[in-house]
Structures are given as structure tokens and as C-alpha cells.
């Protein structure tokens, strides 16, 4: 630990803890200090709650708007009166929401499957096998993560046009079976933390690399694989750019994101229905988050980003 930068170098050596005799430690805190502590505590809590309002209020107002009647949503009111729950069913009649949900689930599910199947062996080779050029290959994988999608998107579009894949799910699913830099990175980081002795023991017992991967590494790396699957599923569930590009005008294939983004332009509906659709779209994500909160927060902390 070097000296801290700045004008006043504060202590650069660790000061040994002063020995506190039990009698001194147990001495009652003077009332002035206690009052100050109490006030600081109250102030802290007040700020925490104020910030919470900033985060929660938008969600509350959106849900309230989703429950308003048509007339109400055009007016100034904030509180729905009466609660118009039927908005949530009306949305289904207005837009083929079930159909779009199935489309989105198909795309997100299959491409998540593809990503996991293709990235696990690659991450294994990049972390648990010894070969020349391994580090260079890993750097190349990371470099591809830095490349903006925009750089490859025009030729990809042209390739997919030539293959007659535009207007089908294929451009959104098939590429994910060929690795994804972020997922490889996340899995590789996790595989690196598994003790080498475990695979060595399996090798001594005559296990092949494939057996070590499937019987030793995958069971141990379940949290990381779950995180990768979650991130990929959500990425696809939320993505607008790629579906907008590749599904084109074929409305039968639309995902929920396209449907929502075109909602106003196509139906010119009132806020209540638009918010009802948004809430329905958000709901599975929120539920998923509460089910797997730890996986999310640990994944973000491990890699520094949400993918």
C-alpha cells in the first residue's frame, strides 16, 4: 500500500489498534454524542428513503396508469377510480400478445441453449487445458467483445438475405450456437477458480477431457452456467435492435419488444393500455429477478457488467 495521492498524505502505515481496557469500552456514551449519532442515523435513513422514492415511484405510477379507465388516463388524475383491471385483458384482444410471447420465448430459449452449449467447451479449453496460444486466443475472444455490433451488422444482414433467413427466427438463433464472447469470458473466469487437483484426479483415473468437463467441471460451475443462461435469456427477451432488423415486416414473427415499440404508432391507444402492456412485459423479468437475485448481483459483481 503506497502513499495515497493528494495534498495531505494521511497515515501510510497501519496504526496498531489501541488497547482498550474493558472498563473503558463499557463506559456509557455521553448524551451529546448519543444524540448526534441518533440524528445522523435519522438523516441517513431519510436520504435512503428519499432515494428509494425516486426508484419506486416510476413503477408505482406506471402500474396506477395501467389500471385507469380510458377517460381517466386522458385526464389529470393520478389515482385510478375505479380500478380498471380489465385493461390487462383488453391488451390481449388488441394485440396478439400470446403469439408474440411465444415468439419471444422461442427465440430467447433457443439462443440461450445455443450459447450455453457452445460456450461451456470453449471456456473449458481456455481455462482448464494447457496448450500453446491459449492466452492469445483468450485475448482475441475479449477483443471480439469490444467490437461494436454495428461494424458487422451490414454484411451479416446481407448474408442473411442471401440465405433467405430474413423474416425467420434463424438470424436470431443460429449465431448463438457459435459462442458469445461475454459468456465465454464469464464462464472462463469461473472455471479458473475450480482447483486443478480435481481435474488431475480425474485424469489419473483415466477420464477423458470430455468426461472431466461433463462430470467434474459442469456440476461445480452450475452457478456460473445459471448466470450465463439468465443473462442471455434476459438479453434476448429485452433486445430490440436485432429483432427489428432481422424479423423485418413479417408481423407474425414479431417479438414483444417490437410489438411494444410500435404500439403507439399502430394502435394509437391511450396511456392506460400502453402501460398495461408494459407492465405485462416487465412482470416476468421482475419475477425472475426475485427468484434469482443472488445470481444476478453476483454475476454483475464478478464481471462488472450485465452482459
Amino acid at each position: 500500500m503506497g502513499p495515497l495521492p493528494g495534498r495531505f498524505p494521511i497515515a501510510t502505515v497501519t496504526v496498531p489498534r489501541p488497547l482498550i481496557a474493558p472498563s473503558i469500552a463499557a463506559r456509557p456514551v455521553p448524551p451529546g454524542v448519543r444524540r448526534q449519532r441518533f440524528l445522523v442515523g435519522v438523516a441517513n435513513h431519510a436520504v435512503l428513503i428519499a432515494v428509494s422514492v425516486f426508484f419506486v415511484a416510476p413503477l408505482v405510477f406506471v402500474v396506477l396508469a395501467a389500471l385507469m379507465t380510458d377517460r381517466q388516463s386522458l385526464g389529470q388524475s393520478v389515482w385510478p377510480h375505479p380500478f380498471h383491471w380489465s385493461n390487462f385483458t383488453r391488451v390481449f384482444h388488441l394485440v396478439p400478445l400470446v403469439h408474440y410471447t411465444l415468439n419471444t420465448l422461442t427465440i430467447a430459449g433457443l439462443s440461450t441453449l445455443g450459447t450455453v452449449l457452445s460456450c461451456v467447451p470453449v471456456a473449458y479449453a481456455l481455462s482448464r487445458m494447457r496448450w500453446r496460444g491459449r492466452n492469445a486466443a483468450f485475448l482475441l475472444v475479449l477483443a471480439t467483445y469490444m467490437l461494436p455490433f454495428q461494424v458487422t451488422v451490414v454484411p451479416l444482414y446481407i448474408i442473411f438475405v442471401r440465405l433467405h433467413w430474413i423474416g425467420s427466427f434463424k438470424p436470431l438463433i443460429i449465431p448463438s450456437f457459435f459462442g458469445d464472447a461475454f459468456s465465454i469470458f464469464l464462464l472462463r473466469q469461473f472455471f479458473m477458480t475450480i482447483p486443478e487437483e480435481l481435474s488431475d484426479a480425474a485424469r489419473v483415473d483415466g477420464g477423458s477431457e470430455l468426461q472431466i468437463l461433463t462430470r467434474v467441471i459442469v456440476p461445480l460451475a452450475k452457478p456460473a452456467i445459471v448466470a450465463v443462461a439468465l443473462f442471455n435469456f434476459l438479453y434476448n427477451w429485452n433486445d430490440l435492435f436485432a429483432p427489428l432488423l432481422f424479423l423485418g415486416e413479417n408481423r407474425k414473427l414479431w417479438t414483444l419488444t417490437i410489438a411494444l415499440s410500435q404500439f403507439q404508432g399502430l394502435h394509437h391507444v391511450d396511456w392506460n393500455l400502453m402501460m398495461a402492456a408494459s407492465v405485462l412485459f416487465m412482470l416476468p423479468v421482475i419475477v425472475l429477478f426475485f427468484l434469482a437475485q443472488r445470481a444476478f448481483i453476483e454475476g454483475v459483481t464478478l464481471t462488472g457488467t450485465k452482459g
Binding site: 500500500m1 495515497l4 495521492p5 495531505f8 494521511i10 496504526v15 489498534r17 441517513n44 432515494v51 428509494s52 426508484f55 416510476p58 413503477l59 405510477f61 406506471v62 388516463s73 386522458l74 385526464g75 389529470q76 393520478v78 457452445s118 467447451p121 470453449v122 473449458y124 496448450w131 486466443a137 469490444m146 461494436p148 454495428q150 458487422t152 451490414v154 454484411p155 444482414y157 457459435f178 459462442g179 465465454i184 470430455l210 434476459l234 429485452n238 430490440l240 432488423l245 419488444t257 411494444l260 415499440s261 403507439q264 404508432g265 399502430l266 394509437h268 400502453m274 402501460m275 408494459s278 407492465v279 416487465m282 429477478f289 437475485q293 444476478f296 448481483i297 454483475v300 462488472g304 450485465k306
Partner: protein, 335 residues
């Protein structure tokens, strides 16, 4: 593994290891190595194919397209530097998109980082009941961008939105937000602050990693709260700030979904050319690239724009890395 027949066991007593003649041993080793490399190749193959087909080839052909005129109907026609020259000298929309993008980066990224540090510091100060607050602060960042944007267009809508009603109660000026070219980008910045959770989590991890002895030592020296923050906390989390800056700049140049959805939501029905509404104020770099490439089918021009995007991103990243040596403090003196 099968032992080759040519391996001769040592005959004499006292020798514990099989004696193999050097030639056989070399051949064995080569074979094992070849097998291992075959396995590596097999495991790496998904990525290798993906890299060649979905990355390297598209990258090279996009570079080629950037020097051509290409509308998908006719084959690409060589145009030299025309696209680039047109972009820099004759296309006001390009410069508008560039300016909008730099605006959202210059304003949006720092405010988001400051807010992330602020919220993370709030959480890090409390030892108990941090869980509930952490969930509440993090949750909005999980909201899908499309839904969150639609929500904010409603919240900020000038006539009936709750935000302007609230501002009206306080007798404050009521901006037209997404309907006003002056206020559409601030609206998007607000949306970004609402979803600050993922950045906050990284800062929270960074703050909790600052060794407590440092603060204790500072207490002994009589440092005040602000001094402790300035001379201990900030240097200790400077790597996280640096990381968020780089990611923020990279993401900023690819800012698309929120701008696209907000523009679509405020445009009336039947509008096709809504991107950038109102009045081009949400025409960001990636939005303009999308509209040039996939609405106008100017594939050559879109490719040129993509390469300029790549170059600008790279330059910004390198500049940030260069500058970081002055202020980013890595533990253990590693720079």
C-alpha cells in the same frame, strides 16, 4: 490410455521405471500432444467457426462496403473515399447525430457515475437492513429498456404525466420533455439515472472492499468525513470509476433502444420516419446508422459510419486509458 507394444519393460532388477528407447518416447509424446490439440480444436470449434463466419468475414466485407455504393439491389460499386468524404463534409445529419451522441455521453455518463457512487455510498454506510434498500435501488435496472422508456414517456408526458403535475404543484416550470428538442435528451438522462443499479452494484462491491484500517488510521489523524472520502474512498474506487467511464463511452456510441422507442412513442400513428423525433434531437449515432442502413438501404454509407464509430470508440478508449495513469490508483502500486 493404451500402452504401445513397443514400450519395453526394464528387465534388470533395481530399475523401477519402464525403459523406453528415445525414438518411441518421442513418438508417444507427439501422439499424446496431437490428441490433446485435437481435443482443444474440437472444444474451441464453435468459437472458431463463429469468429470466422459471423465476425471476421463480416468485418472485412464491411470494410470493403464502406468504400462502395451498395443498395442491395445492384452489386456494390466502388466509390473510393466518397462515403467518408460525404459524411464529414456534406452530411449535416451525420454531424447532428455525432453532436447528440457526444452530448448524451458528456452529460449522461458522469451524472450516472456520480449517482452510482452516491447510492452505493448510502448503502455501504449501513450495516443492517441493507438488503431491502439494495433490492429497491437495483430493481429498476432490471426493467427492460423498451418498457422503461415507455414508462418514462408516460411519466414525463407534458399534459397528464405525474412529473409535470408535481412540478405544477410546486409552481415550477413544466418542460415538454420528449416533445421538446431541448428537453428530450435530459429526459433520456433521467431514464439512465433511474436504471443506475448495475453500476451501483459494482461501486458497492468496491466500497465494501476498502480496508477498514485505512479509515481507522484516518480517524486517528483527525481526518474529517469529506477528507476521508476524497483521500481514501475515491482513490480506492478509482479503478471502478475508470471501468464505468470506459463502458459508458462504449455504450454511449451504441445508444439505440431508448432513443428509438421514445421517438416512436411520441409520434402519431402511421409515422414511418419517426426516428430522431422531435426534430432530430434523439438522432443518435446508432439510430442514424440504423436508419441509413436499414431504412434507406445505403449499405455502403452505413458500413462507413460503422467504421468511423469503431475508430472514434477506440480513440476515446485509448485516450481514457492514457489519462487514467494519472488518477487511477491500483492497490499494490500496480499501474
Amino acid at each position: 490410455m493404451a500402452v504401445p507394444a513397443s514400450v519395453q519393460m526394464a528387465a534388470g532388477p533395481g530399475v523401477g521405471l519402464p525403459r523406453v528407447d528415445p525414438e518411441t518416447r518421442r513418438r508417444m509424446r507427439r501422439r499424446v500432444k496431437r490428441r490433446r490439440y485435437a481435443m482443444v480444436l474440437l472444444f474451441m470449434s464453435p468459437w472458431i467457426v463463429g469468429f470466422l463466419v459471423f465476425l471476421l468475414y463480416p468485418m472485412l466485407s464491411s470494410l470493403y462496403f464502406s468504400f462502395t455504393k451498395y443498395d442491395l439491389l445492384k452489386s456494390p460499386q466502388w466509390a473510393g473515399l466518397f462515403n467518408y468524404r460525404f459524411m464529414f463534409t456534406k452530411d449535416p445529419q451525420f454531424w447532428q447525430a455525432m453532436k447528440n451522441t457526444l452530448w448524451i455521453i458528456a452529460v449522461g455518463v458522469p451524472t450516472r457515475i456520480v449517482f452510482a457512487i452516491f447510492t452505493a455510498a448510502l448503502l455501504a454506510r449501513r450495516r443492517r437492513s441493507i438488503g431491502v434498500y439494495r433490492t429497491v435501488y437495483f430493481l429498476p435496472s432490471m426493467a427492460p429498456a423498451v418498457a422503461a422508456t415507455l414508462g418514462f414517456v408516460y411519466l414525463l408526458n407534458p399534459a397528464t404525466g405525474p412529473v409535470n403535475r408535481f412540478l405544477g404543484l410546486l409552481h415550477l416550470p413544466k418542460p415538454l420533455w420528449f416533445f421538446d428538442p431541448m428537453w428530450s435528451k435530459p429526459g433520456l438522462v433521467l431514464l439512465g439515472l433511474w436504471g443506475v443499479g448495475d453500476a451501483m452494484i459494482i461501486f458497492l462491491a468496491g466500497l465494501l472492499n476498502v480496508p477498514a484500517q485505512l479509515y481507522e488510521a484516518a480517524d486517528v489523524e483527525g481526518a474529517r468525513g469529506w477528507q476521508k472520502f476524497r483521500f481514501i474512498t475515491l482513490p480506492m474506487i478509482s479503478p471502478v470509476i475508470f471501468f464505468s467511464l470506459v463502458i459508458g463511452v462504449i455504450d454511449g456510441f451504441q445508444y439505440f433502444t431508448q432513443a428509438y422507442v421514445a421517438a416512436a412513442a411520441i409520434s402519431g400513428p402511421g409515422q414511418i420516419n419517426f426516428v430522431g423525433s422531435p426534430q432530430g434531437s434523439t438522432m443518435f449515432y446508432s439510430v442514424y446508422l440504423f436508419s441509413q442502413g436499414f431504412q434507406e438501404f445505403h449499405m455502403g454509407y452505413a458500413s462507413a459510419m460503422a467504421w468511423v464509430l469503431f475508430a472514434v470508440t477506440m480513440i476515446c478508449t485509448v485516450v481514457l486509458i492514457r489519462l487514467s495513469r494519472r488518477w487511477v490508483h491500483y492497490q499494490g502500486g500496480f499501474r
